[in-house]
């Protein structure tokens, strides 16, 4: 059987078949990867654009980023705290927009909203927001211009190379990080570099 199979591959038609098979595998793979990068369907089409446009700070809803590893998702009581005040909907005859109706239903039923995380890292990576904010990074450095997005999408592929590129760039002993060529700064940068490229900084 196996021999017959390899014999078949030596025939012209067999080669065409092999080519087709390879193409199928490849296109399947490409399709799979493309699917994997698509943002998932969220329970509510939350318009970041609108909220950021109103001047609400990122940290108002995601304050955990200042304190610890996870920025956190706002509780429903926080959403509702503003939305129930909106005079526009105070009149019971005014129909609510669909997405806000969903929110109202969640609140009224006391059910948690099952968000699907998008900007996430695998289980074996332990990312902590706090030091990144403390180092002076803006949210949009990694998360992109959220004020232009409706449902959040990652602006780039989040992988280890992307993390390390930044960690290396920020600790390189160059004119940007050490303009005066100060040996003390050089030593500090070297120490930081050791830390920021150490496996145990993220993997444990």
């Amino acid at each position: 059987m196996i021999k017959k199979f390899f014999d078949a591959l030596n025939q012209p038609l067999g080669r065409v078949g092999l080519l087709i098979a390879a193409l199928v595998v490849l296109s399947g793979a490409v399709w799979g990867i493309a699917q994997a990068q698509k943002p998932p369907e969220q329970p509510i089409q939350f318009p970041h654009k609108l909220h950021v446009g109103l001047g609400i700070q990122c940290l108002y809803c995601h304050p955990g980023a200042l304190r610890g590893p996870s920025p956190g998702l706002p509780t429903e009581s926080k959403c509702w705290g503003c939305h129930q005040q909106l005079q526009r909907f105070a009149d019971p005859t005014t129909p609510w927009p669909t997405e806000l109706q969903k929110l109202r239903d969640y609140v009224q039923q006391g059910k948690p909203i099952q968000w699907i995380p998008v900007a996430q890292v695998p289980d074996f990576v332990h990312f902590v927001h706090r030091p990144h904010i403390a180092a002076g990074l803006n949210c949009e450095t990694c998360h992109g211009d959220v004020s232009k997005m409706t449902v959040y999408e990652n602006p780039q592929v989040i992988n280890m190379g992307w993390c390390l590129n930044c960690h290396r760039a920020k600790t390189e002993d160059n004119s940007q990080n050490n303009p005066t060529n100060d040996p003390a700064v050089s030593a500090m940068l070297a120490e930081k570099r050791t830390k920021l490229t150490d496996c145990s900084t993220c993997h444990y």
Binding site: R67, G68, P122, D123, F124, H126, V128, R130, P131, A134, G161, L164, N165, R168, A169, T194, K195, D198, C199, S200, T201, H203, Y204
Partner: protein, 259 residues
């Protein structure tokens, strides 16, 4: 942007003067063998139970275990002092040079041995080369509730700060690196250095006899450095010159026999 692809070079230099960073002292005279450290470690580090059959095959996953040996026979029988045994975080670690995929690597910043789970391909070379036999292997998907339905409720206890390991991955004591990282982060956010005794691994925190002390061994005034100066101090398998970071204080009970 260029990426540095040069592989780490293992040098067999004995760097005694480096002195290490984190270290532990275990007083065998105080250890009562109560297994609180074993329990605390398993709860902190998401260590799964393997069941009776696999445990009988020696596959139980314990990052710290309590050893004891017998000497003599009745009535002159003695039990050697209980000896908690975990990864000794050697400076010259034999597990590191044998790993073909650099999953077992030395942390340059913390001077401890790391096991990078996502790199590990399960050759088990490191465990075979470890003279302390403290590396444990996941022979099955012990922590996967899809394979073990009894874990569906139990997995609510899992610590989010520690990776849940899958089948085919080697693991070992990490000196509770997640607690080191957390304390570092807290100290940094408050703009200060870590205080002595602020980082406490799960085993030391539970130990009712206070037999486990953890801290910075590069600080001569830390509690762990002071405790390590005792004349009873020794390292396991000292003759191998692995520069382990765990110092044992010889037990004196039961005739002071053995270490």
């Amino acid at each position: 942007m260029s990426t540095d692809l040069s592989v780490p070079v293992f040098t067999n230099q004995s760097e005694e003067e480096l002195g290490g960073k984190w270290g532990m002292v275990i007083d065998q005279d105080l250890c009562t063998g109560c297994q609180a450290c074993v329990a605390a470690c398993s709860m902190e580090n998401n260590i799964p139970f393997v069941g009776e059959t696999d445990a009988a095959y020696g596959r139980s996953i314990q990052w710290i275990r309590i050893e004891r040996f017998w000497q003599g026979s009745f009535p002159e029988v003695k039990m050697t002092p209980y000896q908690p045994m975990m990864c000794q975080q050697c400076h010259n670690a034999p597990c590191e040079p044998v790993c073909p995929v650099f999953a077992s690597v030395h942390s340059a910043s913390e001077d401890i041995n790391l096991q990078v789970y996502n790199r590990c391909v399960g050759t088990r070379y490191c465990a075979n080369n470890c003279p302390y036999q403290v590396r444990v292997f996941n022979w099955r998907d012990y922590a996967d509730a899809r394979v073990r339905p009894e874990l569906v409720t139990l997995q609510n206890q899992l610590n989010p700060d520690v990776t849940v390991r899958r089948r085919g991955v080697m693991e070992k004591c990490t000196f509770c690196i997640q607690r080191i990282r957390h304390t570092e982060d807290v100290a940094k956010s408050e703009g200060r250095e870590i205080r002595d005794g602020e980082v406490v691994p799960a085993c030391a925190q539970a130990c009712p006899a206070d037999a486990i002390i953890f801290g910075r061994i590069d600080d001569p005034n830390s509690r762990v450095s002071q405790a390590g100066l005792a004349s009873r101090g020794y390292h396991q398998l000292e003759e191998l010159n692995l520069l382990p970071r765990v110092t044992y204080l010889k037990g004196e009970s039961n005739n002071g026999s053995n270490g």
